[in-house]
Amino acid sequence: MSDETMPIEDYLAQGGLLTSPDNVPPRYRGELLRLMASFVDSELAGSAGFADVINDAPGIKERIAAARIVLEKADHAGRVLEIMGDFGADTARYAVHHPWSARLPRDADIGAERRGGDMRLSVLHYPLEGWIDAVVMNVLMGKAVVIQLGELARISYQPLAEVLRSILPRETRHAELGIEGLKRIAETEEGRRAAREALAYWRPRVAASFGLSGSTRYHMLARLGLRHTPNEALLAEWQKAIDAELAALNLN
């Protein structure tokens, strides 16, 4: 009993959890680090992008909401980066190795492609243009983050699952702050028009961040316990949630 073991691949396929860098197989390590790097880079890029928006805020409350998002997303990046550090990543260097506020031109079309030296989700390469644009992006992306985080909070690497579970309520709050902001914007006809324009720009770009449907990669990740729900199912969940939110605000 005490020393009987089993192949780690079988253990993972049966829902087992891994707990330290020492017991992860090489492939698992690579995929896990990739997931974490993508999360860290996306949070850092998201935080950096929102930093400029603070000064576009139309009031104190909105200014605080934007500042809070900037602060907490950076904190979330730091918490996951710490786990990357357990795997040997140079965390201090990592945190500054890329200009996180860098953006492509607004009309660049990169699909789901990652760009440059970081792993941020493609949607985070597009620049925000003013307050309404930022709020709309935050509503769409906020909801996507909550759904994607909910998925990743079940990940088979226990230390990361624990951190993501602690992050989830705050990311949920960020999405709610977006909805509150959008509500105020949608009070006027002019606001609704600008919001619809921003929605048309951001919705397909955020949708692309869910990845390809029928992804072959997904099956490999699922076997390792790194994923549990396919991209297309998460995307459908997001589309449904967004449709409901927008209908409530008369923005669909």
């Binding site: 009993m1 005490s2 020393d3 009987e4 073991t5 089993m6 780690i8 079988d10 253990y11 049966q14 829902g15 087992g16 959890l17 891994l18 707990t19 330290s20 020492d22 017991n23 197989p25 090489p26 390590r29 690579g30 995929e31 680090l33 990739r34 790097a37 990357m84 550090g85 357990d86 795997f87 040997g88 990543a89 140079d90 965390t91 201090a92 260097r93 990592y94 190795h97 492609e113 990652r114 030296g117 970081d118 792993m119 079940r154 226990q158 230390p159 699952a161 624990e162 579970r165």
Partner: protein, 358 residues
């Protein structure tokens, strides 16, 4: 970045026929770095036959014992554990990284919680640290331990657990389940599998009163226990796993051939440009990545994950041919342009020219 520090061995105590308990003392300046949390582990490194081996062992001491102590059970064919069991002596110096791991819940002195622990064999090591610390620092909490072993003689920390029962009368219960030894109560004989858990939950353990469960043991046992717990409605947040770090074989590294003794074609002349400065060095074609060679030649090459993941170590091959072992970060078009992850890069040609600046 985690670094290794020397730890002096102050005691090696034989615990069972194939397990020792090793007490360690950090240097004065490293004391703070080794101020562990209950349930954490230490990663040691040692050179065996010219090759560095790293092994992790859990701390078995409680926070209030004032010592650093690990349990090392001999694993068949395990280089480090056999050495520790057969040759390690008091006075020797081991190298270890500061404590790591998240196999614990925060201590809250005012709470009255019921913790349940499952340990298989040497999986008792971190659980013992948790039991001692929790009972001492949460005076109203209680702990129930289910401890699986093959025989009575293979039970690690048997006496210490008895002492704890007497010290914390009514707050600590230990149930020994022995695989190949009959006991007075049938329930305590056999394997800890789903059925055994069900039986324990029916008659001995009131799961409804349990706040947090700690499980450390071999994979099949952990899966069975987790399945039984989830079937009874325990949430993932309530279940803390710790998988034996040492149950998985160490990663084999390709042997490093010395560039000087190898023939001409087994090494590569590299010209590497970084931050505007260019350096030349020669390194073996096998066993060492381009990144490692650059670092060894005191170039401040950028890197983060060293796993072909984060793309921090990206560079462009301007001349020559290389092979990338793993690429999780670069897109096809980047590879076509000559970009490589230097942490995963091994030269194929006798000469390469690489730039980190492009």
């Amino acid at each position: 970045m985690a670094r290794f520090h020397p730890l002096q061995v102050t005691e090696v105590r034989r615990e069972t026929r194939d397990a020792v308990v090793v007490t360690l003392a950090p240097r004065e300046e490293d004391r703070a770095a080794f101020d562990f949390t209950q349930g954490q582990y230490l990663t040691f490194r040692r050179i065996f036959d010219g090759e560095e081996l790293r092994r992790s062992y859990s701390i078995c001491a409680g926070k209030d014992e004032g010592v650093l102590r690990v349990g090392i059970k001999r694993v068949d064919g395990g280089c480090f554990s056999t050495w520790a069991n057969e040759e390690l002596e008091r006075g020797e110096v081991l190298e270890a990284m500061p404590p790591m791991g998240g196999f614990f819940t925060p201590i809250e002195p005012d709470v009255a919680k019921h913790y349940l622990g499952f340990a298989g064999g040497s999986g008792i090591t971190p659980v013992l640290s948790i039991i001692k610390t929790t009972l001492a620092r949460e005076p109203r909490s209680q702990f129930t331990l289910v401890y699986a072993n093959r025989h009575v003689s293979s039970i690690m920390f048997r006496e210490e657990l008895e002492d704890l029962k007497n010290l914390y009368l009514g707050r600590f219960a230990a149930l020994h389940v022995l695989e190949s030894e009959a006991q007075d109560i049938d329930l305590f004989t056999g394997r800890v599998d789903v059925e055994k858990c069900e039986a324990l939950f029916r008659s001995w353990i009131d799961l409804k009163s349990v706040d947090t469960v700690f499980i450390c043991g071999p994979e099949p046992m952990m899966l069975a226990i987790a399945a039984a717990l989830r079937a009874h409605g325990l949430r993932d947040e309530q279940i803390k796993f710790e998988l034996f770090a040492s149950s998985q074989p160490g990663r084999a590294r390709r042997k490093v051939a010395s560039a000087a003794s190898a023939d001409r074609q087994s090494s590569c002349e590299a010209t590497v440009t970084l931050d505007g400065a260019t350096r030349n060095f020669s390194f073996p074609k096998q066993g060492q990545s381009l990144l490692e060679a650059a670092l060894e030649n005191r170039m401040d090459a950028p890197y983060a994950c060293k796993a072909g993941v984060c793309s921090t170590c990206r560079a462009k091959v301007v001349e020559g041919e290389v092979e990338m072992e793993i690429n999780h970060a670069l897109e096809d078009y980047e590879v076509e342009q000559g970009y490589v992850l230097t942490c995963q890069c091994y030269p194929l040609s006798d000469r390469i020219v690489v730039s980190y600046d492009q």
